[in-house]
């Protein structure tokens, strides 16, 4: 095949010219022709030798190249494990919460949360991920969060690979694609803890997971445009498990993104989540400062707007890069509240009332990589407890107007893609009357299959 490519006509012609009796040719012309032929012959001999050596080279060490090049051969399924732990120094506050925001009250001390947990040394949950193509139609992934005495299935889904036309269907348990940070696991965060807004919206897990279906469509445009919808059980905060046949929660989202020049890229999104609760229990303070239990039944509807801008000189983020990121939410909750408390509290006699809240919040952060292994980050969080109307319970439940806020600064060191050590300082004023200066030393280590560099 390769030899066929060598044009043989000029060679033949040249040979014919010199071998035939060149009567009219002068000696000089003859010499020139001879020299040309010699050059041609040398050149072809050289190339032939080259081709032969190449053939020999390729023939000898060819241990079935195709399978050898498949790096995933040894990892079916791909397995990865993330180790996370920390030392944390903070005030001893009995019941941490966000002032003015109803949180999910766990009676149990399961300790499985992301960085909001204990003081001193602690192990965050260990994450085990198995993933593989199921067949030519589907890919599957399971993500276990392992902590003392429990294994939590954080994600377990299948996803279509072959629908085409930009369509993807995912089914099972997954982290919702609303917002920017929501679909990221804790080890991928740029700070040791989640923004206050995520804790306010989704409780201590600081992300919204659902059991259900997700449908995504990437539009056939040069500008990245994607829209999607999710429906599911809606068992997680701000909804509750209502044990019904229908849809517990639904979400829609749209993302746009692209590059500007070679050094900038961006993504922005708008999401909407609608969840239902039946008897969602939260702690409130009554007007006398006693703790009372409020059970909410109704609807939570929220909008989240997110934007990320990344800069890297010439698109090469190896040594220097900057990421700016901000998200904003607005949440409305409408329904009924049942307030109950112990004898002596304002709700000693259980009282039903309306419940209407309009709340908002945001965070903005910047992370700058100034060295191949070092990054610094700055983040500010702010929540607005907004309007809260508890109807007949307005006289029983305290409505504190403290606006939770927090400023954090972090520096992290990643000697390789697979390990990261982080120091973080925060001034946390998320609770009325408390200023908590916090310090973290955190490690995040990943073993096994190579993780994805998500945008």
């Amino acid at each position: 095949m390769l030899f066929r490519r060598i044009p043989s006509a000029p060679l033949a012609l040249a040979l014919a010219l010199v071998t035939s009796p060149a009567i009219s040719a002068s000696d000089a012309e003859l010499d020139e022709l001879r020299a040309q032929v010699r050059a041609l012959r040398d050149s072809y001999e050289h190339r032939l030798a080259e081709l032969e050596s190449r053939l020999a080279r390729q023939a000898a060490p060819a241990p079935a190249p195709a399978p050898a090049a498949d790096g995933r051969r040894g990892f079916n399924p791909e397995i990865s494990l993330t180790l996370q732990g920390q030392y944390r120094r903070m005030k001893d506050i009995d019941e941490r919460h966000l002032s003015g925001f109803a949180g999910a009250s766990h009676g149990d001390e399961d300790g499985h949360d992301h960085g909001a947990g204990e003081r001193g040394f602690s192990l965050d949950h260990t994450e085990l991920v198995l993933a593989a193509n199921i067949d030519s139609h589907y890919r599957g992934l399971v993500n276990f969060g392992i902590a003392d005495g429990e294994v939590e299935v954080e994600e377990a889904w299948f996803q279509s690979t072959g629908l085409g036309h930009g369509l993807t269907l995912r089914g099972g348990r997954f982290l919702s694609s609303i917002g920017y940070l929501n679909a990221q696991h804790a080890h991928a965060w740029d700070f040791a803890d989640a923004p206050l807004m995520y804790t306010a919206l989704f409780g201590e897990h600081a992300s919204y997971g659902n059991d259900g279906l997700q449908f995504k469509w990437v539009l056939p445009t040069e500008l990245f445009a994607e829209m999607g919808a999710e429906v599911g059980r809606g068992a997680n905060f701000p909804g509750t498990d209502r044990d019904v046949n229908g849809i517990g929660s639904s979400a829609v989202f749209a993302h746009l993104g692209g590059d500007v020049g070679t050094s900038h890229s961006w993504r922005t999104g708008l999401s909407y989540l609608n969840a239902r609760s039946a008897g969602r229990e939260s702690h409130f303070d009554d007007v006398g400062g006693e703790e009372v239990e409020g059970a909410f039944t109704g609807r939570s509807r929220m909008w989240i707007a997110d934007a990320v801008w990344k800069w890297a000189p010439d698109g090469n983020g190896g040594a220097r890069a900057l990421t700016l990121q901000a998200e904003f939410f607005q949440r409305r909750e409408d329904g009924d509240l049942t307030c109950q408390g112990e004898a002596g509290s304002a709700c000693a006699v259980a009282l039903d009332s309306d419940y209407r809240t309009r709340q908002r919040g945001w965070y903005a952060q910047a992370v700058y990589k100034f060295h191949p292994q070092w990054r610094v980050g700055l983040r500010h969080d702010r929540l607005d407890p907004g309007r809260r109307d508890y109807g007949a319970n307005n006289t029983n439940i305290a409505r504190d107007d403290h606006a939770p806020r927090r400023s954090s600064v972090m520096v992290d060191w990643s000697p390789s893609e697979f390990s990261r050590l982080r120091l973080q300082l925060a001034r946390d004023q998320s609770m009325a009357g408390e200023t908590d200066n916090q310090l973290w030393l955190q490690y995040v280590m990943s073993l096994g299959a190579h993780g994805a560099h998500r945008f």
């Binding site: 490519r5 080279r57 060490p61 090049a69 040894g74 990344k310 697979f418 560099h453």
Partner: protein, 299 residues
């Protein structure tokens, strides 16, 4: 809204394979250049990275997902070079025909034998590639072998243009073989010379031209050079005749500059992929430049 969706669906219909010419998504410029050589005006080629970017460390940016969404053929390097981002891009693109295992997914490294296949796969050794060193484009012979397989794949995917692809390829491969002969001859004085590399990106190149490797700035592949290792390297290089310290354009200059200052060995920027136009002229200029730069520092 409904009108917009209708319009979008219409676009979707139009974007189906009825359209002439392949849309190629190439991860590296050299593979984009090959696709352009084969397809000429009959194909649209998008190249996901450029010479100033480290192809290991790309993020699955929205712009890449949008391009992969519309591609008919992905030309990847493979051997885990793009493991950090290409699977994420492909999984988000919702484009079935370009998924690994489908005819619309082509892997260059699967077409040739690889060097430096590690005896053990352990991250303590750095960013190891279990299949072998992925930087195959720097060997023009392997590049030719990849192109031979690629033009066959393109012909199979787009039978209407198959004759054009074959003709373009055979014309190019004849020119390329001549160019290889020219380069081999020009680079003959480099045979046996030693170079120090920043990253192990050049084994195919050094093997082709008979250069030897006197050391690497990265003690472990993909791990930034440390000062202790650099100092040890300086001591080890003392008295050795070394032609140059070479670094890919995306690698930081600092460590190489330090070593160059300490040893007097010149630091060279040797592109690991096509740097100029993503076509035949770019491919040729790339190898011309590699050899010219090394020859200029021959002592």
């Amino acid at each position: 809204m409904s009108r917009f969706v209708l319009l979008a669906l219409l676009c979707l219909g139009l974007a189906s394979p009825a359209q002439a010419g392949l849309k190629v998504f190439a991860t590296l410029p050299e593979w984009g250049a090959l696709a352009r050589v084969i397809g000429a005006d009959s194909v649209t080629v998008f190249v996901a990275t450029h010479a100033l970017q480290d192809p290991h460390h790309i993020e699955a940016r929205p712009s890449l997902i949008a391009r992969a969404r519309q591609a008919d053929l992905v030309v990847a390097n493979g051997a885990d070079l793009e493991v950090g981002w290409l699977p994420a891009v492909l999984s988000a693109a919702g484009n079935g025909p370009i998924q690994p295992g489908q005819p619309g997914y082509f892997e260059a490294a699967a077409q040739v034998a690889l060097l430096e296949v590690p005896a053990r796969v352990d991250r303590a050794d750095g960013d190891v590639h279990p299949a072998g060193n992925p930087h195959i484009g720097l060997d023009p012979h392997r590049l030719l072998a990849v192109g031979t397989a690629l033009h066959e794949r393109m012909a199979a995917l787009d039978p209407a243009q198959a004759a054009v692809y074959r003709a373009n390829w055979s014309a190019f491969s004849a020119r390329w073989q001549l160019a290889i002969a020219r380069w081999t001859e020009r680079a003959a004085p480099l045979r046996g010379k030693a170079i120090v590399v920043h990253h192990t990106a050049y084994p195919y190149f050094t093997r082709w031209l008979g250069l030897t490797r006197a050391g690497a700035l990265e003690a472990k592949a993909g791990v930034a050079p440390g000062s202790a290792h650099l100092a040890a390297l300086r001591d080890a290089l003392a008295g050795q005749p070394v032609l140059a310290i070479v670094r890919p354009p995306y690698a930081p200059e600092g460590p190489g500059q330090w070593l160059a200052g300490e040893t007097g060995i010149p630091l060279l920027r040797l592109p690991t992929t096509v740097e100029q136009s993503v076509d035949e002229a770019g491919l040729t200029a790339w190898f011309d430049e590699l050899i010219d730069r090394l020859l200029a520092h021959r002592r």
